[in-house]
Amino acid sequence: MRADRTTYATGDAYVSTGMIDSRAPAEAHRTPAAPGEPLLTVEDLRVQFTRGGRRINAVNGLSYEMVPGKLMAIIGESGSGKSVSSRALMGLLPGTATITGSIRFDGRELIGLDEKELRKLRGGDIAMVFQDPARSLNPTMKIGAQISEAVRAHADLDKKGVQARAVELLRLVRLPAPERRFHEYPHQLSGGMRQRVMIAIALAGEPRLLIADEATTALDVTTQAQIMELLVELRERLGMAVIMISHDLGLAASYAEDVVVMYAGRAVEHAPVRTLFSNVRMPYTRALLGAIPALEREPHSMLPVTPGQPPDMSALPQGCPFRPRCPNATDKCLEHPPFLEHEPDHWYACWHPAGTELDTAPEVTAAVAPATAAEAAHHSTAHDQGAAQ
């Protein structure tokens, strides 16, 4: 483990809610990346929804950092807080959400901005493309009107200028016959074309950060690849940073440079994509990858693809949230593992990272997926005893 890690000072630069517990040193503060200042720094971001007296902690101290122009993937299973945390960046969460922590974009704190500043930010500095292009375009408005609206929100142009810019944007996203499509309605376009329109809308304000929230999930494989290629190309042409949110690790591996793995509303592992795949540390990421070396796996055994249930966000377990499902878990894991830069550029939050001397991974039976959390716990204890003999 590295010695020179910076620990994150709690209670610094963000709204204190009394929610921050005493398990410091919690999330670590990342030292500025080498090529210039970070574009986006998320620190101990927490989002809590209050619904019917119940509190749902959708995001629980998320921290990550991103330099300009990067293509970063955020992955994690359903409900891990990917969408909520990225909507928090743009102030798009409903009134039932309480947001604390810090989001700095280009040195400016975004939490606590008023509605007017947020409106300038949305679509201006940060833009977003959503999952389902059939639902995210207004069915009763023409494509042209929907793009023009975005153009007008960020540029002072006359009617002709707005239209010219809108058509130019449609051309930029390679929508065939943009002049004709301008006068059509969303239902007249295919899914892939609609998503191109969504991207054109997102580009209207020349954003420096584009968030694609599962932008290709609803599309077929071929269209998915085309849209991803388009995003990669646009990023290079326009020099913007892209966050792609996905629960598809394969997709992230093919396109992203950096990967943040989220679990239960936190970042649990963050590394350049190569590092992550060659030296996976988090048992959760390993489970996502199904990357237990084949030698250690019994023939015909089940792949340990994240056994157990995703955590209940209103009642997280004590200590590491992955503990009930983790084959490596020990009593140490009742204490919360800090998210630290344990190796250069490789961040994770785990007491027993895989492939290190602290690894407690069971050698044989880890391959047999325990069905429930209780079973998982039973399994690992049984194993510890086995290893001791």
């Binding site: 949305r122 609206e149 309605y185 304000g205």
Partner: protein
């Protein structure tokens, strides 16, 4: 609606489609045709039912006209004169035959042609309904927009309170309250009576304000609640609203251009469906305010067993309901591009 499996683009001319098919293939025209065809069984059903119910009520027009003291011979003579001695079926069929030729017959009681009576009475009911509708919608839309702009805000709470109150009062109770306050206590408006539009707009309006308020206020409450709820649903649940917000457009623009546009479909449906109930309401209100409208005519005709006039009123009411549904469907077709281009 059957549509071609091929994706259609407006302006596309499919050479396989004949010019005639192209015209009749217009979704709007097909819709009108379908609705009008459906109107036929509805009208037949409604008139037959009315006829049958009237025949169940003891007494007929001859007895009602001559009074209780009349001799059975006189009654029988008048019955023959009015054609009441024939069987119900043949009376209905001859009425139907004439009606199909545009002749709704003469009132059994006043001998006046029904078309003349309707010409007098329809404008009164029409004005009442129109005023109630226009005023309730003109008030409900801005109030609902203000309420939905800040859910649970001050405007929202106030409008919720008023509309809950307004919906819990029956319209005849409201009518009496209005009379009590504005006619009896304040003396601003007449309690009953009717002045035709030809005697001056203000004189006419003075007699129409209270009756149309009695009908329109509950409507206003209902529309406000409905529209507010639908707008809030759109704002909270629809993904295109998030897209609009993510573009950086202002909250009023999101509300008006996006949410309201889509909520208007629901509102139109509700307004159209309401029309039937509304016309039912006019019968009571015209009675309370002594307005010489179709509703009042209907009640009088039932009392005198004047089946010719009753039938005319029923036909009118049913026709209005059918037309209202047609208008709703056509508005849908105009407002919703997915229907306009026949892709759904």
């Amino acid at each position: 609606m059957t549509t071609a499996a091929l994706p259609r683009v407006p302006g596309d001319r499919d050479p396989r489609v004949s010019p005639l098919r192209r015209v009749t293939g217009s979704p709007a025209l097909r819709l009108v045709g379908k609705r009008l065809l459906m109107a036929i069984p509805i009208m037949l059903g409604v008139t037959i039912l009315t006829f049958w119910v009237l025949s169940l009520i003891p007494g007929n027009a001859a007895q009602q006209l001559l009074g209780a003291e009349a001799s059975p011979e006189d009654v029988a003579q008048l019955e023959e004169q009015l054609g009441l001695n024939e069987s119900g079926v043949s009376r209905y069929l001859s009425w139907l035959g004439n009606a199909l030729h545009g002749d709704l017959g003469n009132s059994l009681v006043s001998r006046q042609p029904v078309s003349e009576i309707l010409a007098d009475r329809l404008p009164v009911t029409g004005e009442l309904v129109l005023l109630a509708f226009v005023v309730s919608l003109l008030l409900a839309i801005p109030v609902a927009l203000l309420a939905a702009h800040k859910p649970n805000g001050l405007m929202d709470r106030i409008s919720m309170m008023i509309s809950t109150l307004g919906l819990s009062v029956a319209n005849y109770v409201l009518a009496l309250l209005l009379v009590l306050v504005f006619a009896v206590t304040l003396g601003w408006l007449p309690a009953i009576g009717y002045v035709p539009l030809s005697d001056g707009l203000w004189a006419n309006l003075k007699t129409m304000i209270l009756p149309s308020a009695a009908i329109g206020l509950p409507l206003f409450c209902f529309y406000t609640r409905f529209l507010r709820g639908d707008l809030v649903d759109q704002l909270q649940q629809e993904e295109y609203v998030t897209t609009a917000r993510a573009k950086g457009v202002g909250s009023w623009q999101v509300l008006l251009r996006h949410a309201f546009r889509n909520s208007s479909f629901g509102l139109i449906t509700v307004v159209g469906l309401n029309l039937g109930a509304l016309i039912g309401g006019t019968v009571i209100i015209e009675q309370i305010f002594a307005l010489p409208g179709v509703g009042q005519m209907l009640l009088q005709a039932i009392n005198t067993r004047d089946f010719v006039v009753v039938q005319a009123a029923v036909v009118i009411f049913a026709l209005v309901a059918v037309l209202a549904n047609l208008v709703v469907d056509l508005m849908y077709a105009v407002l919703d591009p997915r229907i306009r281009y026949g892709s759904r």
